[in-house]
Amino acid sequence: MQPMMELEALTKRFRHKDPEGKAAWKTAVDGLTLSVERGEVFGLLGPNGAGKTTTIRMLTLLMEPTSGRILYDGREAAAHAQAVKQIIGVVPQHVNFDQDLTVRENLELHARLHHMDRAAREARIRQLLDYVGMKRRLLIVRALIHRPRVLFLDEPTVALDPQVRRRIWSLVRKMKAAGVTVFLTTHYIEEAEALCDRVAMLAGGHLVDLDTPAHFCEKMGLSTLEDVFLALTGKKVTP
């Protein structure tokens, strides 16, 4: 079966100033190649600066890659941007609600931007507002309004208490059960272990390894995914 998403040699370089103030290029993501199967929960792990958020920004079409290709359902994302945007939902790392709108108006704006008619958006908002209570969960609710087939979660549980974190985990499992493909980045290794079918380890913009959490531990002779993470990303990776 055609994978839901394919990343082919995905690369992003940014222009910046080096410590001496001279213009230089920084490679945030370097030739990333992987595929995400339909309906799987896929985790992208890596230390700060590994390129996780840049990868998500490219996959959600917020940022153009410097080179490489992204395919959704076998179709090039850049050439079918509108179709891709209709099937993805994005939960960003930062709370990016419109500050001038109420919660309900924010959700309505999202539904309108996804061309939902009045009856559909009102029913969906009413249905999803049962989940809410906190901003982070509201971001998730917003991303789900238009029933995406692929859900991106960029550090979804960062700075949340364990109870809320567990509720978000439960929501991710519900999404998977409903056939939604989930692509998440996280700092919490136990989160990836608990939720992800497969995990990609990223360091310095490079893909270090990709496997199931259990297989990672087995092949490296380590007991937890955290040990695997430290062993793999703690190594110096030469860009």
């Binding site: 917020l62 940022m63 153009e64 941007a81 709108l101 999202h110 931007l113 996804h114």
Partner: protein, 247 residues
């Protein structure tokens, strides 16, 4: 059809916000025109002679031009905070909307604010005893002026990185135009070299057109063409700047 829906959605967001703050918006927009009318119309204006009518009649089209410029520009600049600080602009970038719809929706919302504010000035000016001849073309020029400066505000919001630099646009571009572009005095009094430069600016042509139409004197179609060219050029540039946010 979807394009129209997208424009409406972007406009709807600003309309929701404006409705909530309409009273505050109206009251705050009355302050500056009142001061201009009192200071320049009643105060200073009584000692100034112009070729046709009173100085107040001469002044009102200029105030309309500069006020619609300021309101339209500043109504759209919160997009800058949405882009840089709140990141709420990402909601539109991720959505499956027709990209120019964002530019058009935001510009229309700013035009609406500019026109509400202009209507207030007209009411105040009439109360102050000014005589203005209104016509559909007068309204069209006013709308065009709002469009141009809303587009310039949009461009600034797309291109500029900090609040401080946004403030500098007001200081270095809008403020000089407010005083020099035929708003308070005729540009004929200026040296030729300065006048050539001033006539390259859109507000000058808005002032010429509004004053001509408002006082019933002849206007140049070239001024109308200049405004149309500015509006079109800034729209294309704005759409391009919006699409370049993904780089």
């Amino acid at each position: 059809m979807n394009a129209l829906m997208d424009i409406w959605t972007v406009f709807w967001r600003d309309w929701v916000v404006l409705k909530r703050r309409l009273t505050k918006f109206i009251l705050s927009r009355m302050v500056a025109p009142m001061l201009y009318l009192v200071a320049f119309g009643w105060g200073l204006g009584r000692s100034i002679e112009v070729s046709s009518g009173t100085y107040l009649d001469f002044l009102v089209p200029g105030i309309l031009a500069l006020n619609s410029m300021n309101i339209s520009f500043n109504s759209i600049t919160p997009v800058h905070a949405e882009r840089i600080y709140h990141k709420s602009l990402e909601e539109y970038l991720i959505a499956p909307i027709w990209p120019p719809a964002f530019v058009i929706g935001k510009v229309l919302a700013a035009v609406l604010r500019g026109l509400i504010s202009s209507a207030l000035i007209v009411v105040l000016a009439l109360l102050f005893g000014a005589h203005i001849a209104f016509s559909p073309l007068f309204l069209a020029v006013l709308v065009l002026n709002c469009i141009i400066f809303a587009e310039i505000g949009f461009l600034a919001a797309m291109k500029i990185s900090t609040y401080e630099e946004m403030g500098q646009v007001n200081t270095y571009i809008l403020l000089p135009m407010s005083f020099l572009c035929g708003t308070f005095f005729s540009t004929h009094a200026l040296p030729a070299a300065v006048r050539i430069f001033i006539e390259l600016l859109p507000l000058t042509h808005t002032s010429y057109l509004l004053r001509g139409l408002g006082t019933g004197t002849a206007v140049s179609s070239l001024s109308l063409l200049v405004l149309l060219a500015y509006a079109l050029f800034c729209f294309v540039w704005g759409c391009r700047a919006f699409s370049q946010l993904r780089r």
